[in-house]
């Protein structure tokens, strides 16, 4: 069986990461999970120095990212990615507690594929994660290669 492409989670908070993993596991998500605690690390993952074929780590197929992070924050990360050439084919979905409309429109402006407001209650959270995976992994087709691999 072919190895599934990993999901990259960019999240500085251990608790949030733990709850997310718990939720993904709960709904039976089977893709490998990669974590980057900082946006800068995530950039290295998405734009490796070596050609992807020689890279020890496979490229993720989807990125879930928090907004509020130390160092480079989520918005700056999105801006950086949007300016890189060649363009990144991998969708980035933002997950945040911020309801600020300015944040939301800025994320989409920099090319975010989605913006999810983290629900307060665990039950609702679980439902949101279920819907998220259903959409990205069972409804749409994700790219198998990044642009520069073609």
């Amino acid at each position: 069986m072919e190895k599934l492409p990993p999901l990259l989670i960019v999240e500085d908070s251990d608790e949030d990461f733990e709850v997310m993993c718990w939720a993904l596991q709960k709904i039976g998500f089977t893709h490998p999970i990669l974590r980057a605690e900082r946006a800068e690390t995530a950039l290295l993952r998405l734009f490796p120095k070596l050609p992807p074929a020689d890279s020890p780590e496979p490229l993720p197929c989807l990125v879930l990212m928090d907004l509020n992070m130390p160092g480079m924050n989520g918005l700056e990360f999105l801006e950086e990615v949007s300016q890189r050439q060649p363009k990144l084919a991998i969708p980035i979905v933002v997950m945040s507690t911020s309801t600020n409309p300015l944040d939301i429109s800025a994320c989409y402006g920099f090319g975010a594929a989605g913006y999810i407001i983290k629900p307060f209650k665990l039950e609702e959270y679980l439902e949101t994660i279920r819907a998220l995976t259903l959409y990205w992994f069972n409804t749409v087709k994700l790219p198998e290669k990044n642009y520069d691999e073609q």
Partner: protein, 753 residues
Amino acid sequence: MTETTVDLSSCDREQVHLIGAIQPHGALLILEEPSLKIVQASTNCARFLGTPCEELVGQHLDLLLGADPTATISKQLLSKKLNNGFTHLISIPLLGQQDGLVHITGNRVDGFLLLEFERSGTINLSPAYEYSANLQDMIQQLYASPYLLTFLTEVVKQIRVLTDFERVMIYRFAKDGSGEVIAEAKEADLEAYLGLHYPASDVPQPARRLFALSPLRHLPDVDYVPVSLFPEQSPLPEGRPVDLSYSFLRSVSVLHTTYLHNMGTKATLVMPLMKHGHLWGLVSCQHHSQPKYLKYEQRFPLELLSKIISLRIGDLESLDQYSYSSQLKQVNSQLTNEMGHAKNCHEALFMGKTNVLNGIDASGSALMENGKITLLGVTPSEQQINLLIKWLSLQETTILATNCLPHDFPAAEDFSDVASGLLAIRLSRSNLTWVLWFRPELISETHWAGDPNKPVIIDADGQESRLQPRTSFALWKETVRGQSQPWLDCEIEHASKLRQSLLDILFERTDQLLQLNTELEFSNQALNSFVYASFHDLKEPLRGIHNYVELLKLENHESLSEQALKRIETILYLTDRMHHFLEALLQYSHIGNIDEELKPCSINAVVEEITDMLIKSNPYANLTVDIQADMPVVSCNQTGVKVIFQNLMTNALKYNRATEKIITIGCNISNNVPVFFVQDNGIGIPPEFHKYIFQPFKRLHGHKDFGRGSGIGLAITQKAIGRQGGRIWVESEQDQGTRFCFTLTPEPEADQV
């Protein structure tokens, strides 16, 4: 011209200087040059010079004077031009006459030499040094007066002392040629002429020209018999009389003597007052009781004096104007200063220590600012000023000065007595801001100084005689009806400068306001971001706690005691409440920032949407929502309206213990603006609590009684209604249900309950 042909319209035509006659207090000879042969002589030569004119004509001058004096005169004739008035040539005793001297003065005109002879005074004159000391004293005294009017008042007093004339006046010409008596010294029992105005025709143009030419005109006896010249035929080829413009002895106009007759004047002496080469006014001395002759020696210092006075007038007038304009400058800077602190022009120009009427020669002032009129001093009525400003606004000008307003704006006829003069500045075209100064009509200001009941003199034809001061004054009044004193250049400049400084301040304020607005907008934005960031930062850890406790409950409930599970539930309840509270606070802070445009919004649609949501989220509540079908469409901010109904309807359901909960929503359109209401059959609010319910974080019940509430719902509702320009109030009694009423549009003030 003879007395029978006197006609007023001829005033300006009578050529006074070409009358071929002289007054009898001297003799005149007209000679050829260089032969000094006498060609014409006054017919009084026999009496005055001892030789009849018939014998003199055709003879050489030395026949009359003797060889030596004639030689002295000839010598002077070589060096002197003599074409600019009569110049003293010699004073000698006449041949064959024992007593006294004659003064001989000469003037060249029309190619001839004119010699005038006048007898020296027989009165004992003071020694020259004493006389000049007196004069010096007098001049010093005059120079002590720093203002023009006090100076002139001193002048007439001194001249009266010096000459003993019964009346000495100073008469000033206005730009239009009319005149005014501005200083007078007189015998107590004489009628006063001070303050009287005369039309320009009273001193006709030719007379004014002559006044300017001779330093002094003297008419010792108004009833003199003119002395003609011999031969009658003029020596000039075209027969025109020799020009006597400069002649001291020249005969005067019949009109003039008639006028003097009517004034009861027997003798006059007139000196011109010149300023920058123009006739500024006259010193006029009059004797009423009898003729009065002032001899050459007495007149000489007067001529000097009139020249000194002329010089001083120029100085004092500039000084008066200078001190007036510096006074205006001071007022200007004080008003500008006031404006710096004041809220508006009304406060700055009318309420401060210095007001708009200070310093300036105006009797009233008005300000129109944002449709409101402020008055100060003597002014037309508000209604009249409204009309005036309408007219002003049609004039394409920012500053207007007129001294004949009724002429320019006929409707001003109604208030010409208080405002024949208007000085106006426009500060703003858009909101009609004007500052006005008023000046009364000249006539209302001027008083008849004499006795107005003095009998009118009737002439031979039974007509009221025109030639007297009283009728002159009446005539002058006709010519200046609807006019005020003209505005001076420095006054117009004052108004214009004031306008500029006020505008500068107003502009500066607008600038500051704009800047403040920008700063405010910026700080609003910063505050907005700050609020979001804080809420985010507060919610993050709260979510963490909540999630962890839920995980604990889900994963470990089997190993936990019942008490531990109960505590876990409490933690969940508390974090949940705090979360709700934060959400409500965020919403409250946002209500003020909703920047949506006003759009027509169907209230029915909004209410139905919220009803749907309310029923879905409370499936077991046994709730009925009764909605009036035809509530109006209101122009409003939709997000705000949703917040309002959501809060009110949620409350209506929450604070309700009835088994069948009923919410009634409707609108009363019988008032000026629609009044909406949300009514329930719930627990009601006791009247004593009504004043608290709209305060943020004010709760009337414990948390356990009616579920969690942030205590901010009604505060949010009120704020949202306020943003629409509406208001909310409550009608409720304990256990009687509650009815919240509100409007979504501003109401006219009178309609408020």
